[in-house]
Symmetry: C3
Subunit: 331 residues, 3 copies
């Protein structure tokens, strides 16, 4: 959101209907990266998300954002994330303009991202942006008058995913401080686990990274964790840490990440969670996955109360409802 | 909708807002196939559909399903059916998440149908599913907590089409019992006529099947009709039965169904309905077609009061409104 | 909208909810071309558009079209126009069925435009149509019972764009009579400037056409202007008219319009507006562009108060809100 000089003229300002709480925290702010959240911010977001859940459970939807329009601008397809924001906005009584076909449309015919965003904000009150390029969300926010919510920009950030992951942990485990969180799978390419680790580093947690050697957690973020004095360790075998794990975060192991197909086969099999795995895990362990899964968690596990990954999706809707309400000054 | 064991945890149950009539018939049920409907069920659906029509005619839309969200999950394109459900939900005050691009999205990247459905039901209250594979709707319903409405699964069922066809007959002809219903065209591949014949077999009707020899009504369903003691006969020429027909249901004759292009040309011409045909038909005959047509009914017929095919589409919206309201416990 | 004979039957009439003002001007009418608007009509549209802007600014949206459904039928992609109508309808409390995938869907599989339109109007109260073929909107309107709004039919018309352009001029310049309006760029192929010139010819304006010789304003429309006794002149260089220009309307110069790539390069550079250009322009000049731009206006100009092109998009939403409300009898 651009707070600097802007062109003036007969249309002076963004739509600020009566009743907007301009003094509310996050009002008018962009959601671009996890680094913008402090511990108190997280508590505030989660508090609002809990209210959202309460209201959805009781009445399905309500009219908090009636009259507000979200432009759901997806330069690459992500049905899951797009649907989550769509439902979040609709359950708040707002409307959604879905823009999924960017690749075919005039929007993509040489028009710059700043122009597209400044065009859409003529119609919408908030823009959710998914873009394949690193830094796209910041670029958009530099030009936009309305709030931009980053729904993933390439290998960059996907802050609402990280927030919903953390919200899932606190709701399922009842706390964050004191937990041992184990991340499993492709820890090199998983944008999700990088952001979550950064958020967790604001709390008193132990982190365990379990991956094949070729897919280790990036050194850069490990260095950040050291600076934050977060206790972490790296492992090749889940068994080394399973029994002490409070939260097990499983990631997709994608074939295309491997240079050697043989290694993929070996690794893939070694990191599958099934009922046998859970037999050796804590009875209160929280099992998470960002979905979609492609075999990393066996379907037999789904009926285990510890399987939290579908609930994780539902928590995601509440977190996105909270963020939308907050940036629009209604929470 | 899965009523068996499911994982428990902090999120306990599907959204059951205050005021849902859990004792209502069809509440929480899936709509998968015509065989699940008894005669009394049909009367109930049609009664609700009539109320829907009354309300749409008077006020356009109303807030019966306010706060409810429909996920319109289409694995293959069907603008007509998708739009019908879309309008039905919106006219009931609910919201729709359109998911049309499954082939491009992460949903299709190896994710199983059960996982996709269980993800979407985290956001939505009911799922309409169109899928190219036989049995997909049942598979989805086995895993889903929320109601699944089958909007066509390959060569399988398309129950809401059959219900709207039957509703059209009763509204246009004033009754079902005692009617002679003639089905014309490709009776072998037409999913629509198979389901409609099954529904009609619950009533006291005479059926006339008119098709080229290579596209006869399937023996399996003919045997079912015999068991039900339904009077039917097969013909090659419409003239044999036109004068006794109360309802003429015309189907598409698709070129790609013919091995011999010459036969297609011959057949296609022989089954075109025009004003001359109608001159020899009963003045009260109801002329139906599931649409889109590709020449089977001449456009000159459109202004004849007997041409019911566009009204048939409108009846479809009312039937779908009724079904949505019923499975969500609001009718 | 077809007012002639139509089939009758149990469903008699389009949805005419209580409270529709059937005596309102434009009620039930199609919006097909600029020629259907008289000066008084324009004033009426702009008056309603101003009310829309006032209401959006104050409360974001309102329920004027609650219960109404718009089918947004786009046979070719145009994210910008589709989003504008989408937002317009939603801000009026109505709903939108987006139909963007016509090329994949059954709609396009040989179904005629009249059939598609008559199917969709079973669900919707108004249809916005974008189609690649000249005359498509008129063809659709000939068959439809519900109002058709032309959102561009090939090289034909795009009347709502012309109306929003004119509304931008009157709102930004405070008047139309007495203005000198300069059109710059590809004046041969620009559907936008043709329609705008026709609308402006109802007022007391001076027109200046600046283009390369190969992309001159069409003789046919120049002849129309002569008949209307509109003062205009043609130029190759903007400098000849810049200092006397009240409104500068810049159009895209598309590479594919040029037979000689060298000429494109030369022309493209010669028609770029930057801060240096604006230094020599009137301090109150209104700088417009239909967007998307591909370099014709330098981004450095965006912060100049005279840059009206993003506000132009916002005005577009108000004009479309006005038109939707008017054809649905609510304004």
């Amino acid at each position: 959101m651009n707070h600097g000089n802007r062109s003036t003229g007969p249309i002076q300002s963004p739509h600020l209907p009566l009743g907007d709480r301009r003094d509310a925290p996050f009002y008018g702010r962009d959601i671009l990266e996890v680094a913008q959240f402090r511990r108190a911010d997280l508590q505030h977001v989660f508090g609002v998300a809990r209210e959202m859940r309460e209201m959805v459970t009781r009445v399905g939807s309500f009219d908090l954002l009636k009259g507000k329009i979200l432009a759901n601008l997806f330069y690459e397809p992500s049905t899951r994330t797009a649907s989550s924001f769509y439902a979040a906005m609709e359950r708040l009584g707002g409307s959604v303009i879905p823009i999924n076909e960017v690749r075919y449309s005039s929007v993509s015919k040489g028009e710059s991202l700043p122009d597209t965003v400044r065009s859409l904000e003529c119609y919408a009150d908030v823009i959710v942006l998914r873009h394949p390029e690193l830094g796209a969300a910041k670029e958009a926010a530099r030009y936009a008058r309305k709030p931009i919510i980053n729904a993933g920009d390439g290998i960059g950030e996907h802050p609402t995913q990280a927030l919903l992951d953390l919200f899932t942990i606190v709701e399922e485990a009842g706390r964050i401080d004191g937990l041992t969180v184990t991340m499993l799978g492709d820890l090199k390419n998983g944008r999700t686990v990088h952001s979550l680790a950064r958020l967790l580093s604001m709390f008193d947690v132990k982190l365990r990274f379990v991956s094949p050697d070729s897919l280790r957690f990036p050194e850069k973020i490990r260095d950040e964790l050291k600076e934050q004095r977060i206790a972490f360790s790296e492992h090749g075998d889940l068994e080394e840490v399973l029994s002490q794990t409070d939260v097990l975060y499983v990631t997709r192991v994608q074939k295309e990440r491997f240079e050697d197909p043989q290694e993929y086969k070996r690794v893939q099999g070694a990191y599958v969670i099934n009922n046998e795995t859970l037999d050796r895990a804590r009875p209160t362990m929280v099992l998470m996955h960002p979905l979609p899964r492609v075999g990393e968690i066996s379907m037999e596990v789904d009926s285990d109360p510890r399987a939290a990954y579908f609930r994780q999706m539902e928590y995601g809707m509440y977190v996105r409802m909270a963020l939308l309400a907050m940036v629009l000054g209604k929470a």
